[in-house]
Symmetry: C2
Subunit: 326 residues, 2 copies
Amino acid sequence: MDKKIKIGIVGYGNIGKGVEKAIAQNPDMELEAIFTRREVSAVDSNNAKLVHISKLEVYKEVIDVMILCGGSATDLGEQGPMLASQFNTVDSFDTHAKIPEYFSMMDNIAKKAGTVALISTGWDPGLFSLNRLLGEAVLPDGKDYTFWGKGVSQGHSDAIRRLEGVKNGVQYTIPIEETLEKVRCGECCEFTTREKHQRVCYVVPEESADLHKIEEDIKNMPNYFADYDTTVHFISEEELKTNHSGMPHGGFVIRTGNTGNGTKQIMEFSLKLDSNAEFTSSVIVAYARAVYKMANEGKKGAVTVLDIPFSYLSPKSPEQLRKELL
Amino acid sequence: MDKKIKIGIVGYGNIGKGVEKAIAQNPDMELEAIFTRREVSAVDSNNAKLVHISKLEVYKEVIDVMILCGGSATDLGEQGPMLASQFNTVDSFDTHAKIPEYFSMMDNIAKKAGTVALISTGWDPGLFSLNRLLGEAVLPDGKDYTFWGKGVSQGHSDAIRRLEGVKNGVQYTIPIEETLEKVRCGECCEFTTREKHQRVCYVVPEESADLHKIEEDIKNMPNYFADYDTTVHFISEEELKTNHSGMPHGGFVIRTGNTGNGTKQIMEFSLKLDSNAEFTSSVIVAYARAVYKMANEGKKGAVTVLDIPFSYLSPKSPEQLRKELL
């Protein structure tokens, strides 16, 4: 191997830590630095790679690909353009409705800077998007279904924790098995929100809180819970820590379609993840390799997972891939 | 839509017929001609698109992509080079061991001719290969498992039909559910051939044939059956026609891996196909669109599914794909 791919991480939360672990699993890569907006001494870690973000410029000729581990809601809108103007970047921008706008902004900046900016990678958007595209291209007379879970939804858990009388809580999104089975048998119909997923909440109430009111507040919360069958369990802080501190997730993309004279065909892609953040990070790291290759080939501008051949994800040569995997 | 993609079909067997049906499902494509080595009048079809293969040259400026529907064993070795020297081509070459050699031959010819030759598409090799690559790139510390079936294996059915005393027969390859479940639970171990698949045969014996001998001949046949648990059922020709004339198939590619400190992650891709030939044809037709796009961009030489971004499979624009599918 000629030279290792030098990676920088921006942001040291769950995804940043997952990326650090994923890089360690890929011998053709090397972690160069982890950039943080906090004072390095204030970060709860004695990681020698931590560097204050003000020192970015020092690394301009050193880092091949910068992995942006901030959230879409606040960080990426600002950090994306700033970093793409200096480095090749990968991010997991996941505010679906704003992707076209974010793409266009990143594309302009990356084209001017001569960098490659891969946006919105991970598993949804990301691997699930790829499978939705594949499904509709191969089976144009068909329908696709995406189910999420069983997994912890951060947004819904946050919504619970903001309620009066709630000390802590976790929400699981669970696909309804009966509906999944119907889809898998090729029963191609429309399902309501309630028929596709249920929501199960584990809530730690504050002392002497009104449990009945909390339950009603959750079940009737518009957008988040009102359209679903929701179950609320009250548990202790200890039980929450012991049984619900993991971050499992996953889901299913199913395409059912017809070929010829009504012949049924079914494609399914699914994930069962014990750690959402670590898996997302592993996807991002494989795509960082693709960005490195594309940049070396002279590509410039923003791209998405839909634009990248799978061979770019692998450290193996095209010859080796054809021989071993085709 | 500017201009339809003009497709030619070479070979009018199960795949050729499937491709014809798939083209009809894609409004941006048009079937220009179906080439056959037989006398057109001798083909059991009054399809107006049938043309004798000697007239290929007439279509040189007309057909955008030629889909080669012959078999790897006999046809493609000869037809592939002949057609790639004149047309952009797509084929489903599936003799795994000979893929590197076939790729290299097609690459030389296509580069000289200025054409694009996509080899070995379909679902295995094809979509399954893509998922094996994705699995090992995303979860490098892991293991992948491919299961086939439940489905009819042409090669094994042929092997049965060649036996003395056998009038007709069909063989199903069936993945062993218990092993599938073990893999899905992340039990990462090695399984024997016998633990992964079983083989079930439906045999129509000739009158007064020695049934016991047929059963023994099948079960002990090296390579084909000896390493598997094989079940043999004797049935009538009518029963075979009624219950076993379809060509279902499918299978599973499962990657189990660890991230971080032993966190389990599982990726699974599966197909459940009522018609193997029609699904394979639908995949080939989506990839014909990709070949058309690549040729228009000036690409030359042989490629495989591993080299092609998914966005090339779709009739939609990159903007539309980002908006609708990401």
